[in-house]
Symmetry: C2
Subunit: 419 residues, 2 copies
């Protein structure tokens, strides 16, 4: 068994080989990784069955579903890698170029960060997703998955390493941390000078721990208390459709709506529409109804649980929606600024001035006019992939694609210039 | 006297007003700040005289010169602000735009970070430089200067605040921290949720303290152990000219050369040229000669101090140069990777392959071919200004201009799209 330090150090040492490689070599390695992954289907399914078996008694059905692989899912992972091959190479892209009066040619050029580490939870497909995005962007990857999926992750990593070797690249470019205790996560967070970027992918506890303990550069990801504000001028049918989608199409994800704010002038008409659509209609359609937690003003219009002190600051990740009434777009923005996690927030309005004000003053990664917050996603934004969604402001904000896995350097060509 | 917390909190509260302002208002404020600064020349010089008087016994001539203002220097500061007015507005720039198949229009748009704090040392001109770059990029500024220049900084800030008021903007957008003890610096470093970016501008001690203590996002700046490698194929006259410039044109700055590496094949011819140019010629020209600290192989060719263990890891900031001999460009790169602070490094060569290898594998903010490292500077790179030089990889690398004082958000316009 390799120590966490060895795995990190080996990735660091291998990284310059990848940084100096060309696009063709990296794509060749990715295709080989995809082939090796499919080839190893039997081994991976066997390891996964052991993971699932060991988890059955401890975890519920949702967790087991996240953990479980099938021939089809492994094929999906391999095809995911092949999709990454087709994406444009972010490395070497000239982001800005200038010829100075003294003749210096200055090119701001995208280059890999070096070593990227991802700490993630139960889903084994993250192992191949994260590794492929790292290799595509010429970064080494230190992967630290959860204990419950370790056997699956290990089998997947063995296959990925074979693919790297097929293309003549060092196997150490993808390292899976073998210690799945808290100690290894802390060791990664504090591997100063060895890890260039840490991306946590998981629940609020993991992200908070990274924020508190990381000495290496770290991206805050994922927590989403997403708001939808329905303005006085909104198209109410459009609004109710968007709200149902944002709340219920996948309640467990970070871009799902958690809070609905409604303008006072239309609350009397609109809140009964919301209530009918999210509760009665859904029941009638055999779907899970949404529990509405109402502020006092909303509760005077429709039935529902009275919202508690924490309900406007909670990422429910469930069929629950906090509902409040506000007097203006300014008041809506003030509420969002106070309670938002700076992920995704939307205004539904037919009033250009209200839309412009909302868009300009809401300080979030994604600000929507007349669309569901559920679109905050690398694929939906046209990035072709996604390593996570940043809710911080430095380096990357919103969905992180291949460009966000790179830094840049200035390359300056001269002919003897002095200053 | 306001507490540090009040100053930070007031800046935070004022920031949204600036974020919602237009280019014209911000430029109007900057012009008024420049005018008010010149108008306050008498007050500023009086305050500065007190600072200088209080420092005379404690500090040497270099420090006093950094501290001292004159009518001309104040005019220079005001003109510096006017130059910033002329720069393009970074805010609102659409960095990428895509129309998705579902009709969503997604614009990745530059927006201000919010509140930027700068902790700096003795030079009072940083007060107006930093404030003007912050206001131009629609960020509030929390300025924390050194104790020795406090009176000058305060008088400058009073003038800048008047300029903000002239344009109808809140004076709290520029706040000077009144406590100049270590406590206020620590309070800034740990003002989570209130400060969006901290930029230390000063010596190694300050930067180290920020790196160790900052809980707010912080950019590592400035330390530069810059290398110049002279390849076997180099034009030796060009090389010696570049080396003299990089070492001696301003030895106290971070982009000055600290280490010279010479290819073995030309060391016998080239090192005597270096010795003649940097020592004997400079003496003859009445200039300060450079002390050469030589590795064993260089010492076998020319006279000089034998380099100690730390000499290849020291930012001398003085007329001192560490000199080593290497066997190949690969060996030069390995040395740079081991000892560089990732600031600026150069190769002098007429061999394209050697240049390409060096540029691709040296992992620094600026990598030069046949030019002096002294060009790493916002003005020289055509950015029009500079808030500092980042030696880290996330967010900003190299000289930070107005674009690097911004983040971005995705603005998505829909017509009822759901996912």
């Amino acid at each position: 068994m390799k120590t966490t330090f060895e795995i990190i150090k080996n990735a660091r040492q291998a990284a310059p080989v990848l940084a100096a490689s060309d696009t063709g070599t990296r794509n060749k390695a990715l295709l080989a990784m995809a082939d090796r992954l499919e080839e190893a289907t039997g081994d991976i399914l066997k390891a996964n069955a052991e993971d699932v078996e060991a988890s059955r008694e401890k975890y519920g059905a949702v967790m087991i579903d996240r953990l479980m692989l099938s021939e089809e899912r492994i094929k999906g992972m391999a095809d995911g890698i092949r999709d990454v091959v087709a994406l444009p190479d972010p490395v070497g892209k000239v982001l800005a170029e200038v010829v100075r009066p003294n003749g210096l040619v200055i090119k701001k050029t995208a280059v890999p960060l070096g070593v990227i580490s991802i700490i993630y939870e139960s889903r084994p497909n993250v192992t191949s997703d994260a590794a492929s995005l790292a290799i595509k962007s010429a970064n080494a990857a230190v992967l630290r998955g959860g204990k419950e999926s370790f056997r699956s992750n290990y089998a997947i990593t063995v296959a990925l390493k074979k693919g790297l070797a097929d293309a003549g690249l060092p196997e150490d470019l993808v390292g899976l941390v073998e210690d799945t205790t808290r100690a290894s996560a802390l060791e990664i967070m504090q591997a100063e000078g060895l890890i260039d970027l840490l991306i946590p992918r998981g629940g609020a506890g993991l992200i908070k721990s990274c924020m508190q303990n990381a000495k290496v550069p770290c991206i805050e990801t994922g927590t989403g208390i997403c708001h939808i504000y329905v303005d006085a001028s909104a198209d109410l049918d459009k609004a109710v459709r968007i709200i149902e989608n944002a709340k219920t199409s996948r309640p467990s994800v970070c871009n799902a709506e958690e809070v609905l704010l409604v303008h006072r002038d239309i609350a009397g008409k609109f809140l009964p529409m919301v209530s009918a659509r999210l509760r009665d209609d859904r029941k009638a359609r055999g779907l899970v109804p949404v529990e509405l937690r109402l502020d006092a003003e909303a509760a005077a219009i429709i039935d529902g649980t009275l919202a508690g002190a924490q309900d406007f600051d909670t990422e429910f990740l469930d069929y629950i929606l906090a509902v409040g009434v506000v007097g203006s777009v300014e008041e809506a923005v003030a509420h969002v600024q106070k309670h938002s996690t700076h992920h995704s927030d939307a205004i539904i309005t037919e009033d250009r001035a209200a839309a412009d004000f909302f868009v300009k003053t809401v300080d979030s990664a994604a600000v929507y006019v007349n669309a569901s917050t559920r679109f905050t996603d690398g694929g939906e934004f046209g990035l072709g992939c996604e390593m996570g969604i940043s809710t911080q402001k430095l380096h990357a904000r919103g969905p992180m694609g291949l460009a966000e896995l790179c830094t840049y350097k200035y390359i300056i060509e001269g002919s003897g210039q002095i200053r």
